[in-house]
């Protein structure tokens, strides 16, 4: 799955996701990716977020919406991402999930849920500081 946030020079924001979902899913199953607020969310007045992982669980918590609303109230992107993950972890400690967050001034962060075999989450950033696509890794919480 890819979830992407793009913010233009003057702060206009867009988000998108694309996936082929879970292997061996029951036909008709749809994950979190196409659900606004779950797979991704964008509000140019605040920022955006995009989630990835086990969509059957992720979609129950609208993590992207939650992260954007936390950033609206002043939370930094990394903390907003972490809170969204903690909300899921509270109910599903073994959930496979991660999220990226960006605010409309270009601040960004990410978080993931630490489970066996998944202790770091890679995400890719391109901004004027990096001047190239740079893969970052965040330690899962």
């Amino acid at each position: 799955t890819i979830g992407m946030i793009v913010i233009g020079q003057s702060g206009q924001l867009a988000a998108a996701t694309s996936t082929n979902g879970a292997s061996y899913k029951v036909p008709g199953r749809v994950g979190d990716s196409p659900i606004a607020g779950a797979g991704a969310y964008a509000d140019s007045s605040v920022g955006g977020a995009a989630a990835t992982g086990d969509g059957d669980l992720m979609m129950r918590f609208l993590p992207s919406f939650l992260a954007v609303e936390l950033m609206r109230s002043g939370t930094e992107p990394t903390a907003a991402c972490q809170t969204a993950i903690y909300r899921i972890k509270k109910h599903y400690p073994e959930a496979f999930g991660a999220i990226i967050c960006a605010n409309n001034t270009g601040g960004f962060g990410a978080a993931c849920n630490k489970i066996s075999g998944f202790t770091q989450f890679p995400f890719t950033v391109f901004n004027p500081q990096s001047n190239k696509a740079q893969v970052h890794k965040v330690d899962c919480v």
């Binding site: 992407m4 913010i7 206009q12 867009a14 879970a22 606004a36 995400f123 901004n127």
Partner: protein, 180 residues
């Protein structure tokens, strides 16, 4: 301080990031840039979890989900369980631009895509069919069914509901490459 523009995406899909970035630099809107970035992953079948030829369902078919959202206008276009169309994020954009709806699913989403000019073609590949065949040979394991008979933990379907539903059951398997 403000550090813009910004392109950020999940996982290490650098070609998607670069494509979106250079689209922005060429004057594309963030909406166009994010669509182009995700489209690249669909074409490249990023880590097998995006685009055609990956993660077949119980019948061996690959289906796609996608969303696009404009943070200026709060417009959203989305498709779920899209069949036989490779450019899922493009169809999501078409939902946004050519309907007053938000989310189309299944065969009807595919019919809409065809009407909008998207090519209809199989999303299966030799790899996805091999994956599916192996799953069948492993008695359909892993398996997302529960509270059905025959026992889904060791038998393929078709399944019927089992009388009595067990309380919440822990998810029994994890495939870190199989993500939404």
């Amino acid at each position: 301080g403000t550090i813009l523009p910004l392109v950020i995406n999940t996982w290490g899909f650098e070609n998607a990031t670069v494509t979106a970035w250079y689209a922005l630099q060429a004057g594309a809107s963030p909406l166009d840039a994010v669509q182009k970035g995700c489209s690249v992953c669909e074409e490249e079948q990023c880590d097998g979890s995006v685009g055609y030829g990956g993660h077949p369902d119980e019948t061996g078919e690959t289906t796609l989900d996608a969303l696009i959202m404009n943070g200026d206008t709060m417009e959203v276009g989305a498709v779920g369980d899209l069949r036989r169309v490779k450019n899922a994020v493009g169809v999501a954009r078409a939902v946004m631009e050519h309907t007053q709806h938000t989310f189309l699913v299944g065969e009807s989403a595919s019919a809409f895509a065809q009407d909008m000019g998207f090519k209809s073609e199989s999303l299966s590949t030799n790899d996805s069919m091999k994956t599916f065949t192996q799953w069948l040979s492993q008695k359909c394991q892993p398996n997302y069914r529960k509270n059905v008979f025959p026992d889904p933990s060791g038998t393929c379907g078709p399944y019927k509901p089992r009388a009595g539903v067990k309380p919440r059951q822990k998810r029994g398997f994890l495939n870190l490459r199989s993500h939404d």
